[in-house]
Symmetry: C2
Subunit: 554 residues, 2 copies
């Protein structure tokens, strides 16, 4: 089985490392490339005005003839969200399990890409051949149904990619993770294991999704006289199933609210991934036909997202639902880091309106904790460990765990996005780097907002701007009109009349200085205006607005 | 003891409710007002470019002749940070314990206010008379030394204000909270208890500060071959004391780094609140004279603040210290909600450089949990409960706790900032409202940035701006020069030449339309340009930059 160096397979993460989100990895062997997942990331706080971040696929475009297909592990946004954008450029055939494909198809429809995109639904255990690769889909558990791990058979050896996963011995829908298959693969010999690092900091086991169902039953029992509103992740179909189960048991009607949740649940329902008893679901327009204590609302907005249903309800700007004293609001979620303040804001608003908010024992994670990761290592016994999915701190803890599991330090590799890792029986080495910065999506623009634009937005957001308009005589450079000063986001002009007067005087003096020195170059005149005004304003206000001198000549 | 309605004392929170920070409360009785604390708040995410938020003291200014003094419970920024700003307007005499006053004086010095400000250091147990009020300072525990609760004797009855507090039976410095005095006051009869709500959601007891010292000892013992860097809150003098104790025990030298920490520790040291063994503290310039394993750095930056020492070290922009593989970095803090991402970013950067980051059991809170609150209620047995210090969710949990402790629901009042609450034996009623929005500080400007300016900054930050410059003939309104388009924060102009061309065409057409319709009013011309361009850009890019038409006439 010993391979030569030339036989190495390349693993090229184009996203998903150093951050949560935007998962995409290319696997390359000679003339064949497959792509695993194609997710988006939500913008960081300093990416002002950006809607989404999608992967940079320059490398794939440059090797478009090699790309055999896209295999997708599951239907979360950070694994499928960039597909329509990237398909416009690469048009890869897509391979995924049924529900995952259903969710991908929703996206393709929105972007009018259904007709042009080849798609194949894959079953667990099924193998597909893509160029030099054979890929097998393996059943896993996660916070969305139909998740898969991938066994990727390459001429260099077998790679196992877990996707996002947890081990749930008592899943709500379908089977538990196929641990036997992981063991079989381990027996055959796994070259490298790429496993989910999200919860690598957490000891123990992640609880079964079913435990949340028990909490719901208790809460429904305790609150039989109140309307119940439950916010959760739109894509957590099993969670919604369990809420529906409790609702049915306690004789309540269910309303599903929030665009993304309505979409996903209807797809899940069409494809048979959720079982809704007849006459349980009602439309929001029927809400008045039922007493409050016979209703459950399942909504989006569990992360405090501004425009989501629950946030609009809390802020009293939802057009159909308002909070009434006595309402019980359950957050079936944990705040994702960065969303805490937004979530607390919604909780405060809900409680001010008299709701009782509950968020204890109402959520379990979808990711494997340390003991689960250890089990996967014990079953697959890989030669190499390549932690995936996580920030550096998660990858680091995962790497330490792999070492505890007996993998030598030199056989563990923490990659950086864009690394080209060559892997074979006798090689584990980063041999190159490909472009892999995220691409910003702002409105319809993809990639037309870059760092200069963002820096300007940052500057504008901090201190606003001053526009200085002067009209100069074409021949003498004498001031004909102005200086006029327009400011936005700087100070209340009405309350700062004298400041504006003084600014005008500073600009006039700067212009006179230019005249005296016979400076006629517009660039230099602008710089002189800018520098004088900027110095004056810093002294006077300790602020640095953007200053834009505009010269017209007549 | 029965009082008439006219005898009610007024409690007027001017900050500190619905939020963490900016604590300030006025207590008024006839011709006397006292002010409790005078803190600042740090800006919310949507307060772009704002440095600080300070209280609106319009009500106090309008009643300046009544204001007898400012009593301060402890030296944290959210209780003393606005003092220099407010003293400039009100010049109240200040009453505080020794360390608190030392920290206030640091601020007064910075603002050149030392000579004009009357100050009196107060001891625990001491009473001061301010107009119709007598105020007694009571020993408490908190995450800063010299914290006090206040017993406020008013003609309407006794108010007890806990300040920020916890119950620490084994404090690091000084005595434990004076529970006996709380009991004595309770025996005498407490009209209203205003207690800290920060941890009202948390069950049980907050651990003693001493437990952190034990953790430090263990960590110093485990990491004898590594340099240790510990980040904590600059004001937590007892925490710093415990680090110094462990350092001394394990024969390490201590470097204190970060401006605010250096300031506070030197004040604490001068006033006798910290005990530093000789030859333990060294200057950062001496760092090279000692081996790594003989050093401890205590730094600011435990909240991931951009410019703090630890963040600069992590980002490799600190001019004296760089992370070396093997360094042990301890976060002796929890992230305050909203700071999680910033903290994780610093952790990732530190670990990428080879540091080992530790944040377990290395911090305890400074605020009372539910069992401690219950104890204070049991000792003081107040007639009324008025929860203070916290967001609504905290105040609500606190109110529930007060009810559990036997206080009737109608005797518990959750206030809103600006409420005027009248309290007497037979009255607990909000009877008015005073201005109490925070005032924004931006650079040297206090209050000159308001909501319109912020809305402009918000808009500019999201999509940038387009400036349209046109020069019109004074008489004919014909276009003489332009339209010129200047954009910032919108798109890369170089990559969007055609978009800019099209914009110019849209503007020209708008101008022609005005000419045709004989519109000569500049306001209307500007609106026409703005509307046409805005519609065009939305269709083409799904973005809404700020559009600023500028017309010059010659």
């Amino acid at each position: 089985m010993k391979k030569l160096n030339s036989d190495a397979v390349k693993i090229i993460p184009l996203g998903g490392l150093e951050q949560i989100g935007m998962n995409i990895t290319a696997i390359e062997y000679e003339d064949s490339i497959i792509v695993i997942d194609c997710g988006l990331a939500f913008p960081e706080d300093d990416m002002l005005g950006i809607d989404l971040v999608i992967p940079d696929v320059t490398y794939l475009k440059e090797n478009a003839d090699k790309v055999k297909g896209l295999v997708v592990t599951h239907g979360h946004e950070d694994h499928i969200g960039a597909i329509p954008y990237i398909e416009k450029e690469l048009n890869m055939p897509i391979y995924a399990t049924k529900l995952t494909m259903g969710l991908i198809e929703n996206k393709l429809k929105e972007h009018n890409l259904m007709n042009n995109t080849r798609r194949k639904v894959v079953k667990y255990g099924q193998n597909i051949i893509l160029g030099k690769f054979r890929i097998e889909f393996i059943k896993t558990n996660h916070s969305i149904a139909d998740s898969a791990a991938l066994a990727i058979y390459t001429p260099a050896g077998l790679l196992v990619h877990t996707g996002d996963f947890k081990i749930d011995y008592t899943p709500v829908f379908g089977d538990m993770i196929d641990l036997q298959r992981f063991a079989e693969l381990g027996k055959k010999g796994v070259l490298a294991l790429m496993a989910d690092s999200t919860n690598a900091e957490r000891e123990g086991f992640t609880k079964s999704e079913k435990t949340v169902g028990r909490t719901f039953d208790n809460l429904f029992n305790d609150n039989q006289n109140h309307r119940i509103i439950i916010a959760t992740f739109a894509s957590n179909v099993d969670r919604v199933q369990q809420i529906i189960n409790s609702a049915y048991k306690y004789g309540r009607k269910v309303i599903i609210e929030g665009r993304s949740m309505v979409n996903i649940i209807s797809t899940a329902s069409e494809l048979g991934y959720i079982d809704i008893p007849d006459n349980t679901l009602i439309d929001i327009s029927q809400i008045k036909n039922y007493p409050d204590e016979k209703l459950v609302l399942i909504t989006t907005g569990s992360q405090g997202e501004n425009m989501a249903a629950l946030s609009r309800i809390a802020a009293s700007i939802h057009n159909k639902i308002s909070i009434m004293p006595g309402d019980v609001v359950i957050f079936s979620s944990h705040p994702i880091p960065g969303n805490e303040k937004a979530v607390f804001k919604v909780i405060n608003e809900l409680e001010m309106k008299g709701a009782h908010v509950i968020f204890e024992d109402t959520h379990v994670s979808g990711h494997a904790c340390r003991e689960e990761l250890k089990l996967i290592y014990a079953l697959t016994k890989p030669k190499y460990a390549i932690p995936v999915h996580g920030e550096y701190r998660h990858l680091k803890r995962h790497a330490e765990l792999a070492q505890e599991m007996g993998i030598p330090k030199e056989n563990i590799k923490i990659l950086t996005t864009g690394d080209v890792l060559e892997v074979s029986e006798d090689k584990l080495e980063v041999t190159g780097k490909v472009p892999a910065q995220g691409v910003f999506v702002d409105g319809l623009g993809v990639g037309d907002v870059g760092n200069i634009v963002l820096r300007d937005r940052q500057l504008l957001s901090q201190n606003g701007l001053l526009i200085i308009v002067v009209t100069l005589d074409k021949y003498s450079n004498n001031l004909i009109a102005g200086p006029d000063i327009v400011s936005r986001g700087f100070v209340y002009v009405r309350e700062s009349e004298t400041l504006m007067e003084d600014c005008r005087a500073v600009v006039e003096e700067a212009l006179e200085k230019c005249l005296r020195k016979n400076i006629t170059d517009w660039g230099k005149i602008k710089t002189t205006i800018k520098d004088s005004l900027s110095e004056f304003l810093w002294k006077r206000t300790k602020r640095s607005p953007m200053i834009l001198p505009i010269i017209t000549e007549v």
